[in-house]
């Protein structure tokens, strides 16, 4: 949705240090407008639909995987945070809780994933796996803090549960990123 807000050049101009990985420069991708709009919507729809049909699916967070996938492909922090924020707000709007819980969490993740994507090679499956686990936990920590601190929801934190959920999301994330690879375009 924000492909040209701050298009990062192939060669770093000033402030962002591009590292070289595997002997190549970090690639920057973009997504066309239909993909930018429909993929997040489809992810939110699937999340709501599948969670109802298969209750175990609530451990997954498809919109989060899309946020991470978009952010690491674009490698643009501003685009990442806005994409994450919008997807999170849409996700919030389907719940009965105040809008902003997912919005803030995914804003942070979108910014972090795109910033990290500049510095790391996130094209291989292993890196994506670890990255997804890391950002899933970050997402849950931020969500937990806001939900308890600001909204006053009763929540219990369980590291084993979060780690296992992170692994499950990372495995699903590899598939999602492979699908996103098919629709992303090199700038």
């Amino acid at each position: 949705m924000f492909p040209n807000l701050h298009p990062p050049p192939r060669i770093a101009p000033t402030n962002v240090a591009i590292t070289y990985t595997s002997g190549e420069q970090v690639e920057v991708y973009r997504f066309n407008l239909p993909a930018t709009i429909l993929i997040p919507l489809f992810a939110i729809f699937l999340q709501a639909w599948l969670s109802r049909r298969f209750p175990f699916f609530t451990i997954f967070d498809l919109p989060l995987l899309v946020v991470i996938g978009f952010a690491t492909a674009r490698r643009n922090p501003l685009a990442g945070l806005f994409t994450g924020g919008l997807i999170g707000i849409l996700q919030d709007a389907l719940t009965h809780l105040p809008i902003g819980l997912y919005g803030i969490s995914k804003t942070v993740v979108g910014f972090g994933a795109s910033s990290l994507g500049i510095k790391l090679d996130v094209e291989n499956a292993g890196a994506r796996f670890l990255l997804t686990i890391f950002f899933y936990v970050v997402h849950e920590v931020v969500y937990f803090m806001i939900a308890r601190g600001l909204v006053g929801l009763r929540m219990a934190w369980s590291w084993p549960h979060e780690i296992l959920s992170g692994v499950a999301n990372a495995m699903l994330g590899i598939l999602v990123f492979m699908l996103l690879d098919r629709v992303k375009q090199r700038t």
Partner: protein, 416 residues
Amino acid sequence: MDVLGRYRNLIVLVGVLFAQVLGLAVQVKRTNDSESTRLIRVWAVGAVTPFEKVLVWVQTSSYNLWHNYFYLRGVRAENRSLKAQIEQMRLEQVRMSQDAGQARRLQALLAFKEQFISQTMAAQVIGGSGSELSRSIYIDKGYKDGIKTDMAVITADGIVGKVLRVYHSTSLVLLIDDQTSGGGAILDKTRLQGILRGTPSGEVVLEKVMSDETVPPGELVLTSGGDGIFPKGLLVGHVTKVSPGSELFLNIRVRPAVDLNKLEEVLVVTKIDERQAEPEQTGVARAVDILAQRLPGVPSKPESPEKVTPETGATTGTATTGTTNIRTPSTGTKTGEATGTTATGAPSLTGSEGKPKTVPPPASANSAPVVRKTTTPPSTGSATAATGADAAKASPKPVKEVVVPQPPPAAEDSPH
């Protein structure tokens, strides 16, 4: 300027986060957040729910096509089984209608007001929120169908939740196992009242029951009607675990009677009537009426082919079965005996003219000597079935000798 350019991304991040935190704080502060965020929610729901409706329609249509037209194996056997079940339920219905009539009379004496579900609307579940922390569902009925917020949502098995937000053609229903939901509940046998709440893990607990009370596991939990949303007496579930909680209260876990994860169709209670309980027209007879019937008179020829039993002052119709005793409640002395009821189910006492006479309702609770018509318990023997109007209407043929089944004992581990 150079600093601003260098940290532009961070500044934007902080700004966006600040705006969202501010918006969140405003929503939390307000008790009614429906207006401030309504547009965003309408957009999101409008973007997602049409796809869900289409999927539900496709799923339902294919299921119905298969099960209603192709896969009919075992239908005859099931039909026979259901017919037998209906017969059993008819018998039980007769017994329960008598109990209900007695309860209504007592309630009328105490001037109780009852809540009746007078109108419901069937709705299909089309989706959920997709979040572990928001246990809610979307149904395919909205304000164009007359749905309003705070309407109770139930199934035949028990309560489901309440309508939280209403959109044009969909509504958001908050389930009873969500941690932000709450409602009044009462335990069936011990009559202890508490507050029904959900937990973050999706369990349902009954709070605010003092720890010095004894609550056996398996006891049924019903709605108390005190929350103004659910009518009184609806099944919530049954107690699964009781443990000492904090602050002198018990921690009572309740298993909902409805499987909230497998909801497909629900009923939205769109209208609840509150009316004074009225005794049945035929339930109580005044002693003066019965004495008047016993006065000697010239019996006229009965107009109906019903057999008149002048000694007992009762008629026996074609669908009459059962034995009726009339006792004075004060002494318990048997003052008369009627051997049946008419096909309409009214305790038709024959007047001096030999015509069936319906016993009028009592003038007041204080009216003098009151006699009550009671039916002999079914344990006395055979031929005590189908004494009510429902049974008479439902079975045109005379009912054979059957023994009315005793009510099943309340199962400890099952609400049904």
